[in-house]
Symmetry: C2
Subunit: 216 residues, 2 copies
Amino acid sequence: MLQQSRRIIDLSLDIYPGAPTFPGDPACQFHVHETIASAGYNLTQVCFGTHQGTHLDASFHFADRGRTVDRIDLARCVGPATVIDLSWKQPRDAITVADFAPYESRVQPGARILCRLGWDRRLFQPGYFSDFPSMTVQLAEWLADRKIALIGLDTPSPSADQSTEVHQILLGAEVVIVEGLAHLDELPSDEVFFVAAPLRLRGLDGSPVRALAVAW
Amino acid sequence: MLQQSRRIIDLSLDIYPGAPTFPGDPACQFHVHETIASAGYNLTQVCFGTHQGTHLDASFHFADRGRTVDRIDLARCVGPATVIDLSWKQPRDAITVADFAPYESRVQPGARILCRLGWDRRLFQPGYFSDFPSMTVQLAEWLADRKIALIGLDTPSPSADQSTEVHQILLGAEVVIVEGLAHLDELPSDEVFFVAAPLRLRGLDGSPVRALAVAW
């Protein structure tokens, strides 16, 4: 494996002051802390919310007794993933169990599922944080029952209409939710090796990530 | 490859208010932004320096015209790596070309080298940021000439005594430097698949990372 030629596909959004954030979230800020003139090197203070850009949710995001982001098993966040193409979905459409049924054989315990809606293309359009296709509660339960390890989406959340319920069902089953993915259309195959490793932010609810895929 | 059993080894330090930082760097801060009582979910503002904990340096850290962290080729940061065990080194020892000579056949263009000093065990001891074994300028030039892709160390910097020169030589050759690694003694082999992907912090000098190894 180590010797084979491989390609890395970046699946992440840029982080910068002014970068889009979920309404009400902290704005991203960069503060110059040292410069080559002041100290011999450039160094910056970065401030952002735990759900800035491409990021993942820990159970503690929606449950005070839930697992925090530093305690997530990295084996959930790193490994083979299946890409499900639902890029034909329209704004505010429901994403249902029927949409996942053709892929049921791959929705196994420990599976990582990447759901491609193509929504990252709308990042700078008005409805990005509100009008995305939304997972139904029934689909969240179906995925939780199947004990998948991770679901990733190129929308800012798995559900606009039933966000709390869908998050609670998935996170309650320890399913890692990766939100705000990008460029899923650049993946060369529907089976890739996926990496989205959170920072070890002690006791927190989520973390920005550099999500990427390795294709051989 | 995708079906083989695999194990993830976490190589990263915790990030939290009070976590050790290089003298003069911004202190890490967490600010509660929303709670389940206030908004239905927990959400936090995180502030830290670009070189907090386990992190990587971009060329811009030591050169105003250098490559910024969002522009680093991820293929440098993700792939097979060779672990070199120098854990017998004492505080303030020099790390020299002679130390790397036994591994010369693996120090090839594009190689990723992880240098195990065992220094992470001293994280909370007084000399952690000052007394670590230091790479010589000659070793930095030797690694740069061999066009390695990345060097990772469990010290907070590759050099205490000649930090600027060593950084400039390595970063000037586009060698990614990963600093503040941990737990390199837990790797099951001296050949692993390594991941240390920076956040896409636009225009900045470095980024905290969740470094990890995949072993098959």
